[in-house]
Amino acid sequence: MNEPSHILANLHRRAFLNGAGALVVGLASHDAWAQTPSAASPNNPAMLATKLDSYLAIKADGTVDVFYGAIDGGQGLATSIAQMVAEELDVDFARIVMVMGDSARTLNMGGASGATGVSRRGVMLMSMAADARRILVERAADKLGAAVEKLGVEDGVVFLKAEPARRVSFAELIGDRSFGSDVKWNGQWGNAHSANGMASVKKPSEYKVVGKSFRRADLARKVFGQQDFPGDIKLPGMLHARMVRPPVAGAVPVTVDESSIGQIPDARLVRVKDLIAVVAAKEWNAIRALRALKVAWSTSIPNFPDHDRIHDHIRSAAVTQRTIERENGDVEDGLRSAARILSAEYEYPTHSHASMGPACGIADVRDDGVTIYTSTQKPHYAADGVADLLGVPREKVRAIWMYGTGSYGRNDQGDATADAAVLSKALGAPVRVQWMRQEALGWDPKGTAAVNRLRAGLDANGEVIAYELISKAFSRENVATNEGRAAATLAGQLLGFPLEPKNTFNIPFASYTFPHNRVGWETIAPLMDRASPLRSTHLRDPYGPPILFGSESFMDEIAVEAGMDPVEFRLKYLKHPRDIEAVKIAAEKAGWTPRVSPRNDIDRSSEVLEGRGIAFRRHFDTFIGVVVEVRVHRKTGVVEPTRIVCAHDCGLIVNPETLKHVIERQLVYGTGRTTVEELTWDQEKVTSVDWISYPVLHMEHVPPKIEVHLIDRPEAAPSGAAEMALGLVPAAMGNAVFDATGVRLRRVPFTASRVKAALDRA
């Protein structure tokens, strides 16, 4: 969809910049999805990755279309990308229009994935913008009869530095026309896609737009209820659908009594193999039909292990794949020679994406082509998957991405879009599939539970000589991390497509250096292989929190054994200056007082015990230290996080305010996943299917103080920020609880009853 950053420009220009004192109160009404042309841009019909025209276009009105083949999941990424392009092109930020996630107008750059929007795609588009500027300045040189070196550029106007009245604008030079020039493409698609231009980019010291807190264009529209999401689309003749899910996982329809919905106006049953749905012209009638429909289901005995004993299941299940990711020295040798050996296991639960809005996907399947409207985070792949599912050529499918509920991983959006495609084909009409709340929690792809086994050996001087982490879990890809194949969707699985599971997990990077070191992972088979409500895939920071909870909690256990303060201990084994600075700044800003945990300066029998904990990670070139302060209520077991302090170094900062927001919000989200969120199920089905049975963080449990300290390194490449900090919350909070109480929590979430039981055992 189009994202004009100039949407507020009819007001006050300065209002874009925060703190400029101007009030932003307006916005244009905007239905970008309806305005987008029906095919590729007229000056770029081929959409070749080797052509500059596939990355940006200068319009005759002076605006610049940026063809961003990914999406903004709601964290303000589009604004940062627009700034990066404006910077290198030397045009005002307000001229940039972000065209995002439309498979007919943008290349497949992967979608939202691994917080790489700025670090990969933004950096690439800066190179494209620099190349466009180079070409335009060369053309201007011809036109103005002056050498390139004599020319300056300001807001899309090239002028003679010595004689500024002699000028020509980008729009005059190329407006609505093709560059036609080539760029160097690496031959890859998706996340790996990259391209380079010939021009060199600016030095960070020259930046005028990058590094400033421009405001988000989408936010004002949302505040006034003027941002359309997929659920708001109405196509002519569109039918509303509700999927009919089995009461027991794995059951398939045997007989369906269509007369049971006969009284409901326009309601119809649709059945395609094992996929069944009800449709109606009016949405409420589709819901009534869903409730009224009588289905006889086949017998299915999934025999899921008790959710409360899922970690026992993981421990005892056969390993399907074991991979040692990093190893140095010989851990067994190291442990044999150790004076003291520590070992522990840490358990992380299954989580749902639990998106704010249940999935909504729209499909319009026609003889001459298929259009899907979706807020999946990987729209190009969604188009691939629909082509596979329907057996139509890929070029006949267009995915139009729209802003939607924050997905934070591969949530249910793509599955609903695939459902809609199957139904639209069967009915010959556009279909809008809206999942219900119990479906969104009960049937979205899940983030896997994990058991982390940790061992460490210390020598007689308390030096760590051996360290081992093995994380055992379900594969993080029972279904793929995108909907690019029919088999990766629930609809495809119900239609019988052969499954394509992968056995894969990963271990977050760790900077600590020990003489004998081994980290790796083991996967186990899924509990149900087809159309499982527990199928795993990527959930935000996919292998961060499940593993870092173990590794960074255990790091504190080793510190205790070594008789060291947790900060001092980490600094001892960290070598990289940016590692060290992230830990130091987090501690300093938190007002950290060095001590060996647990604290011994308080009366342990008090009602409320206070403590603080730290956790650290390096993820690619993002370095984060998080300190959490808690109050533990001994009588009830309630863990009350009162303050979170985060030091965050992700290299060059494009938009400081947006970055701070991204970090603050994910620390809140991480708090929820640490303290309350946990998927439950019985032998037959998921049982946590609403906001009571799947509790999420509410206002009263949000840490009242969250302080984010940005470490700006303009000289370092930007490295991403959208998910890495949240993974530190479980360990930092657990370490704080230990500091306060002397009790080590080894299982997330830290619910009151679980903490109370742990305190009582101690």
Binding site: N18, L23, V24, G26, L27, G74, Q75, G76, R215, R216, D218, L219, A220, K222, V223, F224, G225, Q226, D228, F229, G231, D232, K234, P265, K282, E283, W284, N285, I287, R288, S355, M356, G357, P358, Y403, T405, G406, Y408, Q434, M436, R437, E657, T658, H661, V662, E664, R665, Q666, V668, Y669, G672, W691, I692, V696, L697, H698, M699, V702, P704, I706
Partner: protein, 155 residues
């Protein structure tokens, strides 16, 4: 049997035809009248995404039937303020750059506006209480508080 009902929404009368008197107000607003600001989040009254004001008090439109609100004054986010005539809380929301995805935004602003209508200068504690039953999966809770306090401090 289809039935005609008249709803008063944002100071305008809307005559609509409904098949089921028990249809929740949410579907009348979204489907029949085209007011998309109230969103479907749970259909259970647990999240607040569908919040409207009915006679000045917040209500969850997914859990109240159309027939129950005939003759009452219904206000949606669109009726609360527009870019041309914004509600002070909408301005504060932009100033604080509160939201991420914005799916929940309707409930938070409607709940905050109702609080400010009955108490123009709420304390942070009162604002927390007003927001206590809302859900936001992006974690914008504290930012929403800051927006309300910005308005409160100007009162």
């Amino acid at each position: 049997m289809a039935k005609r009902v008249t709803l008063k929404i944002n100071n305008r009368q809307h005559d609509i035809e409904i098949d089921d008197p028990e249809m929740p107000l949410l579907y009348a607003l979204r489907d029949e009248i085209g007011l998309n600001n109230p969103r479907f989040g749970c259909g259970l009254g647990q999240c607040g995404a569908c919040t409207v004001h009915i006679d000045g008090r917040t209500a969850r439109s997914c859990s109240i039937s159309v027939s129950a609100v005939e003759g009452l004054e219904i206000t949606t986010l669109h009726g609360l303020g527009t870019p041309e005539k914004p509600h002070p809380l909408q301005i504060a929301w932009i100033e604080e750059q509160v939201n991420q995805c914005g799916y929940c935004i309707n409930g938070w602003i409607m709940e905050g506006a109702a609080l400010l209508a009955r108490n123009p200068k709420p304390t942070e504690k009162e604002a927390r209480a007003a927001f206590s039953t809302l859900i936001c999966r992006c974690g914008t809770h504290n930012a929403a508080l800051r927006a309300v306090m910005r308005v409160s401090n100007q009162a």
